[in-house]
């Protein structure tokens, strides 16, 4: 697959497969990421600290006291070349509850009127698609997911909000996301998800991983409050919304 090597300072480099959002690019990124992780854990990439997969590129962070781009590139090239032949691995499948009502959905009416459809149709479209988790970031556990139904494509809000509440389910530019944290944000807020996406106490602090699939299931404001309270008290395990785990199925078969 065609790619470019981009310098990201003296301690990182980026392998870029393209400049658009495309599941085929993501498959290449995640295949290269997995190959690098395997080699790194086997001690084969001294000085490599970590890698960061995104929609269309992989950035490799390294310690410039141990290695540099000229040492690293020959070690990475065979892995990059092998990406051609990869098949995307299946992530886990999630069905996450979302309340699309009242104060949980501050932009729903405006989005509906901008798009010229009614609010129920926006909800049906948004919850009627299974989304691919393209990447995590810019905040801890923040999943960039796509692709939205064509009818829901909108640019970002012209006035970003200073405070987007944690749990907000949002859309913009053909993508959807859940804000794990209160933060500023320019996306349109359609609903609220009660499931914490990030917990430092978990072995894998982020609930979702790149390559997972997510479907949203509408719940009422009452159900939302019940779920939120149960989660807060630790009575509900967020893993209950993981409906299929391809990797554990593979392990079981093996």
């Amino acid at each position: 697959m065609s790619h470019r090597i981009l310098d990201a300072g003296d301690a990182a480099l980026t392998i870029e497969f393209g400049n658009v959002i495309d599941p085929a690019l993501l498959a290449a990124v995640n295949a290269l990421d997995a190959a690098i992780l395997r080699l790194q854990h086997g001690g084969g990439l001294p000085g490599v600290i970590e890698s960061m997969p995104t929609f269309r590129s992989l950035t490799v962070f390294f310690d410039p006291l141990v290695t540099d781009r000229d040492t690293l590139l020959p070690a990475l090239q065979p892995l990059i070349d092998a990406v051609e032949h990869c098949t995307p691995t299946d992530g886990r499948h999630w069905q996450l509850p979302v309340c699309y009502e009242g104060e949980a959905a501050p932009d729903l009416a405006e989005v509906a009127s901008t798009l010229g459809i009614d609010a129920a149709e926006v909800v049906a479209l948004h919850s009627g698609t299974e989304y691919l988790v393209y990447m995590l970031g810019f905040l801890p556990g923040f999943p960039f997911m796509g692709d939205l139904a064509e009818r829901l494509h909108l640019p970002r809000r012209s006035q970003p909000r200073v405070r987007v509440p944690a749990g907000s389910v949002a859309i913009a530019t053909g993508l959807t996301a859940i804000y794990p944290w209160e933060s500023p944000g320019g996306w349109h807020l359609l609903g609220r998800c009660p499931v914490p996406l990030f917990d430092a106490r978990r072995a894998s602090p982020s609930l979702l991983a790149a390559g997972d699939k997510v479907r949203f299931v509408p719940v009422s404001a009452d159900e939302y409050r019940t779920l939120e309270a149960g989660l807060r008290r630790g009575e509900i395990d967020p893993m209950q919304w993981c409906v299929a785990d391809a990797s554990s199925a593979r392990e079981a078969a093996a």
Binding site: G9, A11, E16, D68, R69, L136, G137, F198, S206
Partner: protein, 353 residues
């Protein structure tokens, strides 16, 4: 003495937080490294206090940090161009930084102001901060790390529990033989990863003029003001990874340099990346100060990283015990500062033994 030995934060000053070398391995789930903005200062402070070089420290901005010892003696060390003031049995006195000192119970230390730069590191002997995801570094956005599991910056009244130092450790303090020289060279950058998203002149513009640090400068990043950097096309890209030092340029053409707490991904083109060796120096610039950039290759940047590491090791190797009559030394440092005739950290600075 049964009371627990503690260091109380009487005031965090402008901003102070617990940091160490940062949290690695979680950028893939959106967690930035956090960690100290200047690793050399952390390592020197810890070495002066007799701690492992990468142990957690108090990183403070712009002076004002005020701490008091409770329950027992507390050994501290200050790295950074700070004016240090102590309240002890000798009354209120000013000390030079780049040394350790021991506070008895009830005695206080204050970073009165910063002479140069805006960051000081205070290493505290016996400070043990629980690691969260591999690091004690405070990352407030996600409530990670920090004092007493708070996930927050230090606030007035915070008490840090310490393994007690012995009273005998007073007098067994250490000093850096020579303060690090002020480095006023340009901030060096490696062009890319998205230099090709800009007009042909943009890189030349970046390295040819002064940029001023705006009021928006913190642990996340520094917004600069200067000659406009023109994009060749859209001022947006499909988000990709950022690194500490990424210089992203939004539509208005004014660069923002990302630092330790910055978001891990971004949708603005990044014209260049500040090299790791110059990040601390950049982060220490105050709002209103100006800087210049210079371009180097990634290979040259790595060579500079190795040279800087050698300098840091030499500085740490130069750490000496303070003479036994340290009180006289204190008086001397103090009079230097008060008289302003001989700046204790200026070119005239000489080790006093």
């Amino acid at each position: 003495m049964n009371a627990r030995t503690e260091l109380e934060i009487v005031s965090p000053g402008a901003f102070a937080s617990i940091q160490d070398d940062g949290r690695r391995g979680f950028r893939r789930i959106g967690v930035p490294w956090a960690g100290v903005l200047d690793r050399q200062l952390m390592r020197i402070a810890n070495a002066l206090a007799g701690r492992p070089e990468y142990a957690p420290v108090i990183e403070c901005f712009d002076g004002g940090l005020h701490v008091v010892a409770h329950g027992g003696a507390v050994k501290l060390a200050v790295a950074g161009d700070a004016v240090v003031e102590i309240d002890d049995t000798g009354g209120r006195r000013q000390l030079a930084p780049w040394r350790s000192l021991t506070l008895a119970a009830g005695e206080a230390l204050r970073i009165r102001k910063m002479d140069n730069g805006r960051i000081a590191m205070v290493a505290v002997a016996g400070l043990d901060v629980a690691a969260v995801m591999g690091s004690a570094s405070t990352y407030a956005r996600a409530g990670l790390g920090g004092a007493n599991g708070s996930g927050r910056a230090l606030t007035t009244g915070t008490r840090l529990a310490l393994a007690p130092a012995t009273d005998e450790s007073r007098g067994l303090d250490r000093v850096l033989a020579q303060a690090p020289a002020a480095d006023t060279r340009p901030i060096r950058v490696v062009p890319g990863p998205q230099a090709d998203h800009f007009g042909t002149d943009a890189l030349a513009t970046l390295v040819s003029g002064n940029y001023r640090v705006s009021a928006e400068a913190d642990r996340m990043g520094i917004r600069l003001e200067g000659a406009r950097l023109e994009h060749a096309g859209a001022a947006e890209i499909v988000s990709d990874a950022t690194v500490p030092g990424s210089i992203q340029v939004p539509g208005a053409g004014q660069p923002i340099v990302l630092l330790a707490d910055a978001q891990t991904a971004g949708g603005y083109p990044k014209i260049a990346t500040v090299i790791t060796a110059d990040l601390g120096r950049l982060a220490a610039l105050r709002p209103g100060q100006t800087l210049r950039f210079a371009a180097v290759t990634a290979t040259e940047g790595a060579r500079i990283a190795r040279a800087t590491e050698a300098e840091t090791r030499a500085l740490i190797a130069s750490i000496r015990p303070l003479p036994a009559d340290g009180v006289d030394l204190v008086a001397l440092y103090s009079s230097n500062l008060v008289d302003g005739v001989v700046h204790a950290l200026g070119p005239e600075y000489r080790p006093l033994y």
